[in-house]
């Protein structure tokens, strides 16, 4: 064929419409005179030149009227040495920017277009389908590793990801022990499939309490913008969807979720799918995605059949029928203990990955906790007690039906006064404006005046002592902006460099605040808002200036420092005034849940009915506001603590069971 491929079978691309100036050329400009080109940069359709003129270097484009200057040979016949535009100097032929080669066989096919023979359409289609299929690259190398932000990669995570992709073909139960980064593993698999184009639509199902956290992690670490399932939005149009399992399985959503045909579904805390008679299990079974990842540290809680039900979602039939599984692999009379363990291990190895802490060389830092109980100053104590009295009177005085309107304000006020007097003052001011508190207005106003008169807090003095006692970087958490500003102001007055981080900052300001803390400041004062997922591992001292009434929030605070990658033991200081709500909350989370000492994988399981957002806070507030005296408080908080203790023990038992059961059954090896 005539114009086919050039001599050597290659075609050049990008001749460009440039004037061909080269570094070293001498040019004449009508204003600046003679100059020497010292830099040439290609732009679209022209060149940008840096030219050294007698009065300085100027940047011009090749569109200017520039005359190349050629030097005449010397009179003695030798070239002026060295001639800048001479062949020696300018002989560099810039290689075309891109080239390609036409594969063999093209000429033959062109000939066949002209003269035949022609293949049947069916064969042609099959050929194309095969070509398309073979485009998929192998999983011998992970593409996603270059696209992660702020993720410290661990060997076991990369291995698990490879095993899921290569051996398990995207359907896997990730049952790593708590704290080994199951979320990261799932994120790696998700990102890898998305990069390779094997997944276009993905759904992540998590407990309601973890939606925000997952959203942050996926956005920040994996650069994945997930839409969150919300009623009233066209969420089913979204290719990447994040939802709580409870929302997704609602009658009004479940058909649309199923119809959206997600390629990959990730389920966090998948032990909630242990029973195949539940709506959640049936819902997931109906989704039937191509790839499915189930994440749980405790796949078995009471019964080996729970494990069977999870595997049934991933690889139906792998463990036989429900009945044969019971007969072959469960010890008679003990539903928790397996038999034929070798065979069961082989089968589970096809779909389950479990990495234990012992099997990794990662050092897990400890949590050192110090509770600092102190007495409020006299005016602070008086204010605290008066606010508490007011809250109790307002709550107890209202009828149950009318209580809701004001309850949120009172709950906030009670939390604020536990944080600082500065945080409570604005809420007291707002409370004065409300109609519902008209009879109490003079009293509220008096409290507001009292709060405004207090210009220092006893708690701050304790914090300042801790900061000045060492040279370590410190993160101070508070729930309220007013407290944050007071802290920042007071610390700066003491000559300490402080960075502040709160929800009102823009994304860039937040990054700047973290960078400032990392590079220059000694103290970061932060609210929790928007801080999840931000990397603070370079610091290992944390001060809870006030204590959230929600254990999940406390865990999230500690989790910002105490995570994979933290090299030091994390020191947690809890500041709590005696005889306040916080002192009771602290007792519960410290003594009963033991939250500060160890990582609890599934706080939801421990908290039980209090896991839903706000319910634990409500329970605490209800006890506090309705108490008639200290004895009431002791009794009711005692009951709440006992309920959580049961949850904690139950979780510990399940964890122990899974450790005993699964560690012998699992492996995390990638076949060669």
């Amino acid at each position: 064929m005539g114009p086919a491929v050039s001599r050597d079978g290659r075609r050049g691309v990008g001749a460009g419409l440039f004037r061909g100036f080269r570094v070293g050329d001498r040019v004449v400009h009508k204003t600046f005179g003679e100059g020497l080109i010292v830099e040439v940069r290609d732009r679209d359709g022209f060149e940008v030149l840096e030219i050294a003129f007698p009065e300085g270097i100027r940047r011009l484009t090749s569109l200017y009227p520039l005359e190349p200057l050629r030097r005449a040979p010397r009179s003695d016949g030798a070239e002026s040495a060295p001639t800048l535009a001479s062949p020696r100097a300018g002989s560099l032929e810039m290689t075309p920017r891109a080239e390609f080669r036409i594969g063999a066989g093209a000429e033959e096919m062109l000939q066949r277009i002209l003269t035949g023979p022609y293949d049947p359409l069916r064969e042609h289609d099959v050929h194309l389908r095969t070509e398309r299929y073979t485009l998929h690259r192998g999983f011998d190398r992970l593409l996603c590793l270059e696209h992660l932000h702020d993720v410290q990669q661990y060997e076991h995570q990369v291995q698990a990801c490879m095993t899921v992709l290569r051996r398990m073909r995207g359907r896997s139960l990730l049952a790593d022990e708590v704290g080994l980064g199951k979320t990261i593993e799932a994120g790696l698999v998700l990102k890898e499939y998305l990069l390779r184009g094997l997944v276009q639509r993905a759904l992540v199902l998590v407990p309601a309490s973890l939606v925000e956290q997952w959203d942050q992690e996926l956005r920040r670490k994996f650069d994945l913008e997930f839409a969150i399932l919300k009623h009233g939005t066209a969420w089913w149009e979204e290719p990447l969807l994040l939802a709580s399992m409870d929302t997704a399985k609602l009658l009004r959503h479940r058909d649309k979720v199923a119809a959206a045909a997600f390629d990959l579904v990730v389920v966090d805390e998948a032990h909630r799918l242990k029973n195949q008679k539940t709506l959640a299990w049936k819902f997931l079974d109906r989704l039937a995605p191509r790839y499915l990842l189930l994440l749980t540290a405790t796949p078995v809680q009471n019964d080996l059949h729970e494990l069977y039900n999870l595997v049934q979602l991933l690889r139906p039939g792998l463990l036989g029928t429900y009945r044969t599984f019971g007969r072959e692999y469960m010890r008679r009379g003990d539903r928790r203990m397996p038999q034929n363990t070798a065979r069961l291990a082989t089968l589970l190895g096809e779909t389950m990955i479990r990495t234990t802490r012992a099997s990794t060389s990662i050092r897990f830092p400890k949590r050192e906790v110090k509770n600092i109980l102190f007495d409020l100053s006299e005016p602070e104590r008086a204010l605290y007690d008066d606010v508490t009295r007011l809250v109790r009177r307002l709550v107890q005085g209202q009828k149950e039906s009318r209580r809701g309107a004001i309850k949120l304000t009172l709950l906030t006020l009670q939390k604020e006064i536990g944080s600082s007097t500065f945080a409570a003052a604005p809420t007291l001011a707002k409370l004065m404006q409300r109609d519902g508190v008209a009879p109490f207005r003079p009293e509220v106003e008096a409290l507001w005046r009292m709060a405004r008169c207090i210009d220092n807090n006893a708690k701050f003095e304790g914090v300042a002592r801790i900061i000045s006692a060492s040279r370590e970087k410190v993160v101070i958490f508070t729930q309220f902006r007013a407290t944050l500003e007071f802290l920042a102001r007071s610390l700066r007055a003491g000559g300490i460099r402080v960075a502040t981080f709160h929800g009102a900052l823009t994304l860039r300001e937040k990054e700047a605040a973290i960078a400032q803390f990392r590079d220059r400041a000694r103290v970061l004062v932060s609210t929790e808002a928007g801080g999840e997922g931000r990397n603070l591992q370079f610091c290992h001292v944390l001060v809870n200036y006030d204590l959230p009434w929600n254990p999940m929030r406390i865990e999230q605070r500690i989790g910002r420092l105490h995570r994979l990658g933290q090299e030091h033991d994390v020191h947690v200081f809890n500041f709590t005034a005696r005889n306040t709500v916080e002192s009771y909350v602290l007792e519960i989370v410290h003594e009963k849940i033991n939250l500060f000492r160890s990582v609890i994988g599934d706080l939801d399981m421990v908290l039980g009915p209090y896991a839903e957002a706000g319910t634990f806070e409500d329970a605490v507030f209800k006890i506090w506001a309705q108490a008639r005296g200290d004895r009431d408080l002791e009794r009711e908080f005692g009951k709440l603590g006992a309920a959580l203790l049961v949850g904690r023990k139950r979780f510990a038992a399940v964890e122990e069971l899974d450790r005993r059961l699964l560690d012998g059954l699992s492996s995390n090896e990638t076949p060669s």
Binding site: M1, P3, A4, R11, V13, G14, V23, G24, V38, E39, R41, A52, S80, A81, P82, L84, A89, L92, T95, R97, A98, E99, F100, R101, I102, G105, A106, M109, L110, I113, L114, T115, G116, Y118, D119, P120, L121, E123, V126, H127, L128, R129, T130, E131, R132, L135, R137, R169, G170, R196, D255, A259, A260, A261, A288, P289, Y291, R315, P316, G317
Partner: protein, 278 residues
């Protein structure tokens, strides 16, 4: 609002289906029994694959494509059979005309390219080009779905395309691929240039100090000496850049994997009379 329908198109076939289709296209007798395919191979295929019968299994739930990976080498061999040669086919569609136009026989050529860029960051791709054969007034191309295999009668009436016309289409196709490759490679090349520029920036600073020195009146040195040194450095830089680009570009290959000659046929009955494409 109604939820969107399942987006999985026909192209998203699973591996077992694809393997069965390859065998069938090569003359095997394939029978499907649920999630299993049984293929009795013709003698040539049996010789190539080393077996007379192949059984292809999907996973128990039919969800994940597992195919014949029970025997991975066999799967590879079957896939190789499917890819073993480029296919050239000929398709026809009823001729279409514009408003007031006259239906005439038109030719198009469809090329399927497999482009391997030779850079880790750019995945291989299958590129389809459909180009008209013949210069001006090529007319309206019928939609893809309208093309089919010609009947025996149509086959006798079909004319071969002009070699010159095909030659010009071929060079146009190559130009289009050039643009495609340039578009894909540009970010990577730019990145490479940026890295080299960065590396050379320090040298540039050095150049400037030399120029300033030269201008400040220290003319005792030979004329253009500093500029000459500077040029030498710039040359090194350009040579390095060129070498890096050449090294990357060597691996970029466009392979013509399939082609189709598309012809719109003026039949005894027009497409309108037949009520649309066949």
């Amino acid at each position: 609002m109604k939820p969107r329908r399942n987006r999985r198109g026909p192209e998203r076939s699973e591996l077992p289906e694809l393997l069965a289709a390859i065998l069938e296209a090569q003359g095997a007798t394939v029978e499907r029994q649920g999630s299993a395919w049984e293929a009795a191979l013709p003698s040539t295929l049996a010789r190539d694959l080393g077996t007379a019968r192949v059984r292809i299994l999907a996973s128990p739930a039919g969800r994940a494509a597992r195919g014949a990976e029970n025997d991975a080498p066999l799967t590879e061999r079957i896939l190789l059979v499917g890819r073993s040669r480029g296919a050239v086919t000929r398709l026809v569609a009823p001729a279409q005309t514009g408003k007031g136009g006259v239906a005439t026989t038109r030719h198009w050529v469809r090329f399927h390219w497999r482009i391997r860029y030779g850079i880790d960051g750019v995945a291989e791709e299958l590129l389809t080009q459909t180009l008209p054969l013949g210069g001006k007034g090529v007319g309206i191309r019928p939609p893809d779905a309208a093309f089919r295999e010609p009947t025996d009668e149509e086959r006798t009436r079909l004319t071969a395309p002009e070699p010159e016309a095909l030659a010009s289409v071929w060079s146009r196709a190559l130009r289009l691929i050039e643009s495609r490759i340039r578009l894909r490679m540009k970010p990577h090349e730019d990145k490479m240039r940026r890295e080299l520029h960065r590396e050379m920036r320090q040298l540039s600073i050095h150049f400037r100090s030399l120029i300033a020195e030269e201008r400040s009146g220290r003319r005792r040195r030979a004329e253009d000496r500093e500029a000459g040194r500077m040029l030498q450095l710039k040359e090194d830089w350009e040579r390095k850049l060129a070498a890096a680009i050449r090294q990357r570009a060597h691996d970029t290959e466009a392979q013509l994997v399939a082609a189709a000659l598309l012809t719109s046929v003026v039949g005894a009955r027009s497409s309108r009379a037949r009520g649309g494409p066949v």
